[in-house]
Subunit: 463 residues, 2 copies
Amino acid sequence: MSAESYLSEHKKQYLDELLDFLRIPSVSALPAHAADVERAGEWVVERLKGAGAEHVQLFPTGGHPVVYADYLHAPGKPTVLIYGHFDTQPADPLSLWRTPPFEPRVEDGRVYARGASDDKGNMLAPILALEALIKAEGGVPVNVKLLFEGQEEIGSPQLGSWIAEHRDLLACDVVLSADGSQWSETEPALYVGFKGLAALQIDVRGARSDLHSGLYGGAVPNALHALVRILDSMRSPEGKVLVEGFYDDVLFDEADRRQIAAVPFDEAAFKRSVDVDALVGEPGYTPLERLWARPTLELNGIWGGFQGEGVKTVLPNEAHAKITCRLVPNQDPEKIVQLLEAHARRHAPPGVRLSFVRPGGGARPYLMPADHPANRAVGEVLTALYGREPYVARSGGTLPIAELFLRELGAYLVSFAFGLDDEGFHAPNEFFRLASFERAQLGYCRVLRKLAEANGAELRRVT
Amino acid sequence: MSAESYLSEHKKQYLDELLDFLRIPSVSALPAHAADVERAGEWVVERLKGAGAEHVQLFPTGGHPVVYADYLHAPGKPTVLIYGHFDTQPADPLSLWRTPPFEPRVEDGRVYARGASDDKGNMLAPILALEALIKAEGGVPVNVKLLFEGQEEIGSPQLGSWIAEHRDLLACDVVLSADGSQWSETEPALYVGFKGLAALQIDVRGARSDLHSGLYGGAVPNALHALVRILDSMRSPEGKVLVEGFYDDVLFDEADRRQIAAVPFDEAAFKRSVDVDALVGEPGYTPLERLWARPTLELNGIWGGFQGEGVKTVLPNEAHAKITCRLVPNQDPEKIVQLLEAHARRHAPPGVRLSFVRPGGGARPYLMPADHPANRAVGEVLTALYGREPYVARSGGTLPIAELFLRELGAYLVSFAFGLDDEGFHAPNEFFRLASFERAQLGYCRVLRKLAEANGAELRRVT
């Protein structure tokens, strides 16, 4: 029997298992749910064992656990590490859910539950594909390792050091991420790039205390005005970043431009989707270039002085702002933070003192060649599954694990997952399409077969 | 017997009475103390009756009450309205008080208690002066009306309409305010001007909701950047207001310049007092000119987006700022608010929507001629009390009642009070100097005699 027939025969059972998995409220952000995260990890362990995976183990990390398993019976063939996560976002605001978030509901070909798409439905698929290959076909044509974590939704605080400590265990030629999405129900995409991140908090201090705006106004420096001056100097009204040196290391060329231009972008629909009548951004670049391949600087928060009702005639002596920049190849988060600080100092008006908090969260940008052998293999599978070639896409978001696997294991991460943007990943009434769930299972069977044709050394080649 | 001797003989009794008055925790801002404010009003009523004042009455206002009294036995002589307030600021933070705020303590010639200087010590003085004149000298050489309110520290919300409803009762030639201060222990001052006030809240709205800074950053308008752009456009880095039309109506001439230049100002000491190493302000004007006679624009508060610990990669869709301007003759608060709104709209970057809140609190500027007969009378008394002529001073603060009396009663308000800036008016360990308490009693005897020499019609002349 083929793995495909096996999957088809077990369709009902696999859906029931997904519903069981979704009933575990494994919310990693809430300490009250720590035991549920652990329980979800144990559920994954049992499911992997049932699938025929070996060396299945729940590892402590100091925070939420990770699950490791492998099936290494293809000597001479590539080793593929499959990644996903079994923790979920919190479910609040509960009042916006039509049915309870951890009581999954199947309706119109969709399963509604917190974590359905992000990431339980997606991460269960490769386990089921593994089972189908082992049980129906007697084995897997590549060597497979699986790593599922329980802390992705809180930024994977312990994952980096755990991976660094288990480099040998995790050694592989390429990573497939079962956490991600496709372009649409009918259009696949290869995600080849994610932006990096640099974060800074600026604290401005003026006089010894808040002062009476009448008795001191017009003469004593106001921390809010100073902050506003500094922040306004960092970006032109159109959206070009004016921080000196900010673009110096950016790699962006005609090839990037062509790659991005090949992807459709409906500016009017995009504006409608966020309800704005105009876009901003760096002049000379298309919106998609700005979103995907040009670095950005965004104010995430600002505060100081009086925020209550009515009037308080205070001249505030403190003002604060939080900034993050999304970075592109070949920018360095540490250097960008230094540039931001230097710029702020240069543009601070007299009479105020600046200090900075570097809140962490920095990440390097990630970009892999679209014609890398792993992308070619995934691209061929997607083309077969959808009947059309995938778009070569990027994300303005940051995927720290991509850079983490590359740094620690020397392996590229290729996204191979089937979420869709309308599925409410972090929002109420999250759902996953059952068609995607099945497509993912088929896809994993096929991509493992396809990668068996590749050369491990070529897959491992990092440029 | 002279009134002065009478005051001297009753020194001990008057101090005890001040301590009694200070024991009433008449905090107008705290609803739990509403009965105490009322009780303080009743205390004032009884004290006025004891002094020999007539038509003494506690009037309801819809909020905290006011006390009215008069002594009108000087036909053909001017009528003087004496103003003060019997409510106090809250006392918190209590932990910073060396002794409880409503258990007055006399030490080293000072009485420590909440309200000692602001304003119970100051407002009791004219009542005692009235008593001394009546009981020792058989009468008062002018017609006196007294109005004490219980809501000054919360902005006198009901006072304006109460005064408007009692115009005939309060009709007078000039107002003396027993709420205010002198320049120093040895230097008197005539305060001839107070700034007006205009307040505006700006609300900026961008996309339909907060967005992911990675998925939308660099293309979708960020409400914080838009706000920062608008606010930065309102003031030059040096502090000149750039709102179009802002200075158009300002009256400021060489006479103002000479009047202000005659007042000593130690810039180094001023900077030390607020702990800044540089001042800002409108170029071409001295710090004291900026503080007293040039209009100002100060940000009082700003907020939007994420204010917590760490990093939140949000592209905020809302941002808010509160602004107040201090106004000088001949600026109009309503027009200034309109100019601010028009400026904000002109400088808003594309893609955001603005709305405004006018939180009230507007007040017209107040300035009276230094050589007005009332100022001449007060100046002569101060010269005699201190042995030197008073500085002609202004305040960057706003005194809405000054403009209120002028509008409703057609009478100028002349400050005649004896607080000093180090007495912690709204701070812990507020105190009043006993020397000031006695000087105030003497001063009120003398100023009432001096005003008896003036012509009511001249006092009433408003320019």
